[in-house]
Subunit: 386 residues, 2 copies
């Protein structure tokens, strides 16, 4: 298989890793957070906004792009990078998660999944081979095999059967990618639900198939947080040290810190942009719910020590006014800030690992966010914007 | 009265004027178009976007800011320039037009207008004195007296009575502004409806009161276009040559060209931003309705020779995709382009006047827009975003 990326492990601190992924569209310093560009647009943000926020790589959803505008259109227009005017790396998922969670499924079989488009009712078949074909048409730097996404909770039996299918689909995806001479990196996805033995088996068997990196899927779907951290650690330590690890759809700032310290390199989540559109802003001292009356005459920036455009130029009072009156500028400014915050946190984590002081960083991080948290709790994470 | 601005007449070409307004917040080259920042935000655009588009001055609506967040809040936070992070000139209207067109009016009397807030039902009284006080609290560079805005059509008698009241209110506004030692420039508003004799009288009597500049109000409210142009010319030629002239709430690109050639210096309209949100884009060859299927695979920029961010970086196909999926980025990019187009047109008009070739410019402008216009007709203009 053509390897579309290389990974260098630059430093470690306990299980945590400071690394570098090199792709055909440039370098990604890890650990990294990937803003979610669901439909080839990170909601409310332009490419220049993402660059200003420090974004190195974005995710796009195969499912959403399959529905609109369709992979053929994007291929004709030169691929996803040209289409969305983003010249840095792009990662696409397989479409599986959204098909299982959003689409009206018609049939699931060993072949794949048939579903109707919620947009126009047309029938689509997503097989492992078709998902690879679509992702190759989109032209992302890192792509994924179709996997079966089980709802939580699921029995051991059901999870085991689902895992077996995911592994068979992974083999087919790998073969399809190789047959087409795909230049993208193909990550394997480790499933196994909330069962430790199945997670271990999933990791071992996925690694045995051989991929360019490994994603941990099926997390943050309702299982308790301690279990999620434990399973993440269990899987991460069975993955090859010389390849990148990606925890799909996670998560809150505290989840990123916990998963990085357990050896995860890459993350994606709609939390920063979705919460921004709900007026919830991330800060090192916990969330700020901007609509609150307490901010109506607050001339301070959203976050004192933040150098994003929203914090450099505007007051909480103005941001609150924009949000309360539902001005479109509110969504952009709050999204800018939240994405900037997530990417800044990852930069801080990278530095802490490189300097082997992640423990002290974690202590300070949790002290600030727990002791000083002044506002309402944030929405729980989710991985799709639609 | 303290004059908050100076006006220099730099060149003329027929009735058209190339001028320069100098304010405490910088210089405005005229003729100029002012993007409308209804609630202290030009919809979907940030101050940096406006600067990039070439905006020299923006308008904010006293009525909308009175309702939310209230003039007291804005004053406490340092005034409108600080509040909205816009350090260039700002013009405010008196609130009259929106009270008459949007609010549930309780009573109109010689004193002023009482109305209920559509936001929270609270009762507000807008008198000439109160409007000046609010606008002084907002801290705009150019402010306006409360005027009575008559619906079109109106009888000669009704228009005459309304004009008389507008003139009495203008006198009170002028006195209130002087008494408070206001440093803003106060423009008079010339009403008179669709009646030539009343427009002439309105111009003469408003000029006799003495203001820092003159607005032409009550236009583009349903009267035929030729009449609007005629009345504009009639009023403009009675206004002092050494003061700026502002045609309120106008208009389409062709209206701007016609009114400039009749001696108007300043314009505002929500057309560029509102139409952008409806997917209608202005180009020198007429409108592009971006949702049309013909643009689905169109890799060209929205306008070939445009150097705005939307045209430099994205294809029609991508803009169409964003608009069809109602991505927030669509509204910003299309607004950016439209505002850029309006401001570019004004820059072209300034240069044509300076070079005394406005006639040739008009010919070419109308040839392109009429002969080549390929898409649907645009929405009619309107002056409030709400």
């Amino acid at each position: 298989m053509t390897r579309g990326i290389t990974f260098e492990l630059l430093a470690t601190d306990g299980a945590a890793r400071r690394g570098r992924v090199t792709t055909g569209h440039g370098v990604v310093e890890t650990p990294i957070f990937m803003p979610v560009g669901t439909r080839a647009s990170v909601k409310a943000l332009a490419p220049d906004d993402l660059v200003a926020a420090g974004a190195q790589i974005v995710l796009a959803n195969t499912y959403h792009l399959l529905l609109r505008p369709g992979p053929q259109v994007i291929r004709e227009l030169g691929g996803l990078h040209t289409f969305m005017a983003w010249d840095r790396p792009i990662l696409t998922d397989s479409g599986g998660f959204q098909v299982f969670s959003l689409a009206k499924i018609r049939t699931i079989s060993e072949t794949g999944v048939e579903f109707r488009s919620p947009v126009d009712g047309t029938l689509h078949a997503l097989t492992p081979e078709r998902s690879i074909e679509i992702q190759q048409a989109l032209g992302a730097d890192i792509i994924h095999p179709l996997d079966e996404c089980l709802a939580h909770p699921a029995t051991h039996d059901a999870t085991e059967q689902s895992l077996a299918r995911t592994l068979r689909w992974a083999r087919r995806s790998r073969a399809a990618h190789a047959a087409a001479g795909g230049s993208a990196a193909l990550f394997g996805i480790v499933q196994g639900g909330a069962w430790e033995d199945l997670r271990a088996r999933a990791a071992d068997e996925t690694v045995a198939l051989g991929f360019d990196g490994y994603a941990i899927g099926g997390m943050a779907v309702g299982e308790p947080k301690p279990l999620m951290y434990e399973l993440t650690a269990l899987v991460a330590e069975r993955l090859p040290a010389d390849q990148p690890r990606y925890l799909m759809g996670v998560g809150k700032p505290e989840d990123l810190v916990e998963a990085v310290s357990r050896g995860v390199d890459m993350f994606d989540c709609v939390l920063p942009t979705r919460n921004a559109r709900n007026g919830q802003c991330f800060t090192p001292d916990g969330p700020v719910v901007i609509k609150h009356a307490r901010y109506a005459r607050d001339g301070r920036p959203l976050q004192e020590d933040c150098d994003c455009y929203a914090c450099r130029r505007f007051s909480r009072a103005y941001l609150r006014h924009l949000f309360v009156t539902q001005e479109l500028l509110a969504f952009r400014l709050l999204s800018l800030h939240n994405v900037h915050f997530f990417l800044g946190l990852m930069a801080d984590l990278r530095q802490a690992i490189a300097e082997r002081r992640l423990g002290a960083f974690k202590t300070r991080f949790f002290e600030r966010i727990c002791v000083l948290s002044a506002d309402a709790s944030l929405d729980s994470e989710s991985r799709t914007e639609a």
